[in-house]
Symmetry: C2
């Protein structure tokens, strides 16, 4: 495996979809680098490894991007989508989320220069709105008429909302025993919600069968996966642009499948190759929960691949026991001088509370994982406290209230009496 | 009562806070127009009516504003706050939320030109982040060291989050019997949450006593109310700027205390007076729930004031039975040729679902009220279907899941079997 800018100048695009994905010219095997035509493919038939999108960007300037909309579509010239909004499905204008300078948390951790990239600002309050946006655009180009996914949470919300806005059908598959709150947040959008009698593995297996069976269903993270994954690059682009067209020294990124981490690295590499930022060393750190830490374990053991685990953590949005992109994550963190670490459920809760109490950002469990790993990596001396650091919060605490239910609450319960209040508050 | 631009050129500011609230020069009685010095006052001692902020803006250009940040602080030259970020407390960069063009809902309602101003994009996902931002800035200027409020929902979230970010103490008062979910969304930020044995009226009474008792507590909607309310103007400014510096023909706004509606009108009047938009007629419509519709009743009856009611509606964030700004709302909607209408709880649920299913925007009950009133006002012929219309969604469906719990859910529950799926989906 080699680092690649995925800019491929000698390939001649072919096939029915050539020229229909903006700057994208081919699909490329992650393992072998072999280029094949664009289409509804996500697996390299030779290696059974993932395919990713390869581009010929041509010149792209900061000014082009800055003149674009306040959404991830300002980066359309860098994504596998048609350049103009009219050629894409209607959307909720995801992305361009807040990059918040941290003073309080930075001070607490003795960090010199810390930023929080807060992806709660997306339309359904997680970074999944980004990947669904590029998947939906691809679905339209590829002729799928139904957008679909298996999910228990953020992805289901994002697919249901984006489909409603675009005016296309959606079918979302969930395990039957999902909590009602999580059902409602997708069902509200009028998606066809199909509850499956079985566990999440059963749901996924059925979805693979349906993807093979029907040519009208675009599963965002199955047959649309190559395009879907590219949406994550926009988080990397935004960090660089919001810093003033500069790469940070260190980034801490949650790892589920590992795709997000690899795409932030890809984004940084592309920005350097295009001359949009200065080339400089940066270190990428992966954050996992000990209840599902196959990549952190592989990192510690010096392995090139991860050993699958059975997830058991409150960070359910990161609970992927067999992460598809583990080898690429391991490669990137080693190449950049980073690391992959893991924290306990108790540390995750502490991480959620620390971020909320110091910065007013209420993260879901995945954000707690990231902040707790920031603390741990600093304690272990693996993060440089003097280097400019960005942590990515990928989701919203409103969706994982259970995680903090036993940990926070009223400081006091009192009668409506001024004298009693005075005594109470003096003692708090 | 008269329409006013609140730009007052002959008044000479005085008192210890003169010059410390940016372009604000005085507090003004809403009833008599009399100007008094800036300070920690919200009630006119002569009339016991509300005080509001009066300004001497000086010249403000579109270019000045457009050069500002992508937050409500781009309008700092029009708010009672110091102009530079360094003079204000740290904040979460609220405002500058998405204005979404509606195609699907517009088509469904035979509306020619509809926009949705989606204030879910704020840091705690409601428009309360705007008013808390200006209240917090005023609290700092006025020397309060604790930010406080009584609230059961959005306001509590906003105060807790903003205080954490600013690094100042906060105390939030709630009724003891509040649902755990609503407790957690404020408690997460580490605010001192005080549960009161009593109902919401008991909580409010205690807060008024505390506001009188302690000079270190700034209650955002009591002693800081004049400054707090000004934050709502930014919704009006943003609508105009995002339309390309143009006022819409019609706006539909939820009415609780009525403050938001009056401030959107104030914003439009100010933009006209400053020459930032062309003067043109616009009509403002108020949206209430029939379970708490004192202003709609007064409008229908031709009264100048509202008769207090006991609220009984699922739209709890609008459940103010004795709205302080009712006379001003009635004046504005009559002056502009609008109306105040009300919808049932069933219509509210239908409104939430309609907006989510057509546009992918999952609103809280207050948003359901607004959309349902849009439908009703069109049906009644009071809204012009050919005129450019904006509806304001003030909050997030994740906070009021109960409202839809009995109404949406899985379309089917099936075994993980391809054949069964085929039959099921064909029948849906």
């Amino acid at each position: 495996m080699t680092a690649s800018t995925s800019t491929t100048r000698d390939y001649v695009p072919s096939g029915p979809f050539a020229g229909r994905f903006g700057p994208a010219i081919a699909l490329k095997s992650r393992e072998t680098g072999r280029l094949t035509e664009l289409g509804p493919f996500s697996i390299d038939p030779e290696t059974f490894g993932p395919l990713e999108v390869a581009y010929d960007f041509g010149p792209v300037t900061r000014k082009d991007i800055e003149a674009g909309p306040a959404s991830l579509w300002r980066y359309a010239p860098l994504l596998p989508v048609p350049r103009t909004a009219e050629e894409r499905p209607a959307d909720l204008s995801p992305g361009w989320t807040r990059l918040l300078k941290s003073e309080n948390l930075a001070r607490r951790l003795n960090l010199k220069n810390l930023w929080i990239k807060d992806d709660r600002d997306n339309p359904t309050h997680s970074f999944k709105d980004r990947v669904v946006a590029t998947a939906l655009a691809a679905a339209k180009t590829l002729g799928y008429t139904t957008l679909s996914c298996a999910s228990t949470g953020n992805l289901a919300n994002a697919v249901a909302a984006a489909s409603a806005r675009a005016g296309i059908d959606s079918v979302v598959f969930i395990p039957e025993n999902l909590e009602q709150g999580k059902i409602l947040t997708s069902a509200a959008y009028g998606t066809k919600l199909i509850a499956i009698k079985g566990n999440y593995d059963d749901v996924n297996r059925l979805c693979s069968e349906i993807a093979d069976d029907r040519d009208d269903y675009g599963f965002v993270n199955v047959n649309l996966r190559a395009y879907y994954a590219e949406g994550s690059k926009t988080l990397g682009y935004e960090i660089a642009e919001q810093l003033g067209w500069r790469l940070p020294d260190q980034v801490v990124i949650p790892v589920a499948s590992g795709s997000l981490l690899t795409k932030v690295d890809k984004a940084f590499q592309e920005l350097i190759a295009l001359g949009l930022v200065e080339a400089k060393p940066y270190r990428i750190f992966g954050a996992q929960a000990t209840g599902c830490s196959p990549v952190a374990e592989a990192f510690d053991a010096g392995w090139d691949v991860a050993k699958p685990v059975r997830p058991d953590t409150i960070a359910k949005s990161l609970a992927i026991g067999n992460p598809a992109d583990a080898p690429f994550v391991l490669d990137i963190v080693r190449r950049t001088g980073g690391a992959v670490a893991a924290v306990s459920d108790a540390e995750i809760v502490a991480g959620i509370r620390l971020l909320a109490e110091t910065e007013g950002v209420f993260a879901e469990t995945a954000g707690g994982v990231t902040v707790a790993n920031l603390v741990k990596l600093l304690d272990d001396g693996r993060l440089d406290p003097d280097a400019e650091t960005v942590v990515i919060n990928t989701g919203d605490g409103l969706k994982t209230l259970d995680a903090i239910a036993d940990h926070v609450g009223p400081a006091a319960t009192i009668d409506p009496d001024l004298r009693i209040f005075r005594q109470t508050i003096a003692a708090l």
